[in-house]
C-alpha cells in the first residue's frame, strides 16, 4: 500500500456516448485509474448543476462531466443546452472561489475508448496533485459534523 492520496472522482456521463465509450475502454482492455465511479444519465442535458455540488459535498475530490460531441446528441440538442449551462455555471463557481480545476468537462464518443482512459487518468493525476477537497467538505459538514458544537451554542444558561 502506498501512502499516496487516492482521490475520489465521480463521473456524470451520457448513456449514448461516454458510457458506451467507457464500455469500449473496458472491452479494449485498456487499463485506467480505478478512482472513478461512473453515473449514467440519459443525456448531458439531464445533468443538473446541483449534482456537481452534491458530489463535492458528499466527499468527491473531483468530478468528470462527459457526453456526446456537439451535433452528435441522441436527442439532437441536449449537449448544446448543457454546454451553455456549464459555461455560465463554471464562471459562477469560479467567482465564488469553488475550485473549477476539479471539474473536468469533456466530449467522449462511443468510439473513443482510449480518450476516456486518457481523460480519467489525467483527471486523477490533476486532482491527486491538488489534494483532497477538504475546504468544501468542511463547509458542507457545517451541521452534519458539528451537532455537538451547535447544540452547545443553543444551550440556555441555567
Amino acid at each position: 500500500m502506498s501512502a499516496e492520496f487516492e482521490p475520489k472522482i465521480l463521473a456524470f456521463v451520457c448513456n449514448w456516448c461516454t458510457y458506451a465509450g467507457a464500455d469500449l475502454t473496458g472491452t479494449s482492455r485498456i487499463k485506467y485509474a480505478s478512482n472513478v465511479k461512473i453515473i449514467r444519465f440519459p443525456c448531458t442535458g439531464r445533468i443538473d448543476f446541483m449534482l456537481l455540488l452534491k458530489a463535492f459535498a458528499g466527499g468527491s475530490d473531483g468530478v468528470i462531466v462527459s457526453g456526446c460531441h456537439p451535433n452528435d446528441c441522441h436527442y439532437t440538442s441536449g449537449n448544446f443546452h448543457a454546454r451553455r449551462r456549464w459555461m455560465l455555471f463554471r464562471g459562477l463557481l469560479d467567482f465564488l472561489g469553488i475550485d473549477v480545476r476539479r471539474i473536468r468537462f469533456s466530449w467522449v464518443s462511443a468510439a473513443e475508448g482510449a480518450k476516456w482512459a486518457e481523460v480519467v487518468n489525467q483527471t486523477v493525476a490533476d486532482v491527486r496533485a491538488l489534494g483532497p477537497y477538504s475546504e468544501y467538505q468542511k463547509a458542507a459538514e457545517f451541521v452534519a459534523g458539528n451537532e455537538d458544537v451547535l447544540l452547545k451554542e443553543q444551550e440556555v444558561a441555567q
Binding site: 459562477l92 465564488l96 451541521v143
Partner: protein
C-alpha cells in the same frame, strides 16, 4: 409629481386601472404604495430617488391578480416588465407603465412595443459600485474568493428576502420548498446558503434585469446582488445581451464558444 397624482386619479376614476403600484415617502428611501383610491393617490411620489423595482408586485396574485395595474417604473423595472411580458407572466393591456424622462417629467408608455424600444434605446444606468465589487473579487486568488463568499454567506439566515424582492422569482413552488428530492437543506448553514445563492443566480441567468433588488432587500446587507451582477456580465460575455427570443439557458447556438471542454 402633481402630474402623476392627477393622471393616476383620472385612470382610477375612469376604471382604466384598478390599482397603481407606485412610491410614497418613506423614512429614508421611498417605499412602495399600492394606490387604489384618490386619497391614496395623493400620497404618490415619483422622482430619481425612486429606484426600487416595483415590477415584483405585478405578478403577485394576492395584490394585483386579475386587476388592471399601473406602475411607476425605473429603468431596471422596465427591463423586468419586458422580460415578464416575454415570459407570458403579464398580459399586454393589463399593465400601464410610467417612466421618468431625464428631466423628471412623467413618461407614459402606451404599448409594449414602445416600452421595449425605450429599454433597448436607453443605455442602462451605470453601476460603478457593483462593477468595482466584481473587479475586486475577480482579482482575488480563488482561495480568498472562497473565504470571502463563505464568510459572507455563513451569516445568511435564509429569510429569502432576496427571492421575495426579485420580479423574476415568480414560481409558486420554489426549489427550496421541494423535498423530493431535497436539493437544499432548509436550515441556514454555510454550504446550503452558498447552494441557495448558486441556484437563485443560475435560475435567473439571462432573465435577471440586474436591478440589485436582491441585495437591497437583504436584512444583513450581504452582497448577493453582486453574484447576480457577475452572472449578467458572464451572460453578456458568453452569449451577448439577452434578447426576447427565448431565455439564454433554454436556447442554444451550435457555435457557442467555450475553452474548457476537452
Amino acid at each position: 409629481m402633481n402630474a402623476l397624482r392627477s393622471t393616476v386619479k383620472e385612470l382610477l376614476g375612469s376604471g382604466a386601472i384598478d390599482v397603481f403600484v407606485g412610491y410614497e415617502k418613506g423614512t429614508r428611501l421611498p417605499r412602495p404604495l399600492l394606490a387604489a383610491s384618490a386619497d391614496e393617490a395623493d400620497k404618490l411620489i415619483f422622482d430619481e430617488t425612486c429606484t426600487g423595482n416595483l415590477a415584483v408586485y405585478l405578478t403577485r396574485k394576492d395584490l394585483v391578480g386579475g386587476k388592471k395595474a399601473g406602475v411607476a417604473a425605473s429603468w431596471y423595472a422596465m427591463r423586468s416588465i419586458c422580460r415578464l411580458l416575454d415570459e407570458n407572466q403579464l398580459q399586454e393591456g393589463a399593465v400601464k407603465v410610467f417612466g421618468l424622462t431625464p428631466e423628471g417629467d412623467l413618461k407614459p408608455f402606451d404599448t409594449l412595443a414602445d416600452l421595449k424600444q425605450h429599454v433597448q434605446e436607453t443605455p442602462p444606468p451605470p453601476k460603478p459600485v457593483e462593477d468595482e465589487w466584481v473587479r475586486e473579487i475577480d482579482a482575488m486568488p480563488a482561495a480568498e474568493r472562497w473565504k470571502f463568499w463563505t464568510g459572507e454567506l455563513s451569516k445568511c439566515f435564509k429569510c429569502y428576502a432576496c427571492r421575495a424582492a426579485c420580479p423574476m422569482c415568480y414560481c409558486t413552488k420554489c426549489i427550496v420548498e421541494v423535498n423530493r428530492p431535497q436539493w437544499l437543506q432548509p436550515w441556514a448553514a454555510t454550504m446550503s446558503n452558498v447552494e441557495w445563492q448558486l441556484n437563485r443566480v443560475m435560475h435567473m441567468a439571462g432573465r435577471c434585469a440586474d436591478c440589485g433588488a436582491c441585495g437591497a432587500a437583504c436584512p444583513l446587507g450581504l452582497p448577493v446582488h453582486i453574484i447576480a451582477h457577475k452572472m449578467a456580465k458572464l451572460v453578456a460575455q458568453s452569449f451577448g445581451e439577452p434578447t426576447d427570443k427565448g431565455s439564454v439557458l433554454s436556447t442554444f447556438n451550435p457555435n457557442d464558444e467555450e475553452n474548457f471542454i476537452l
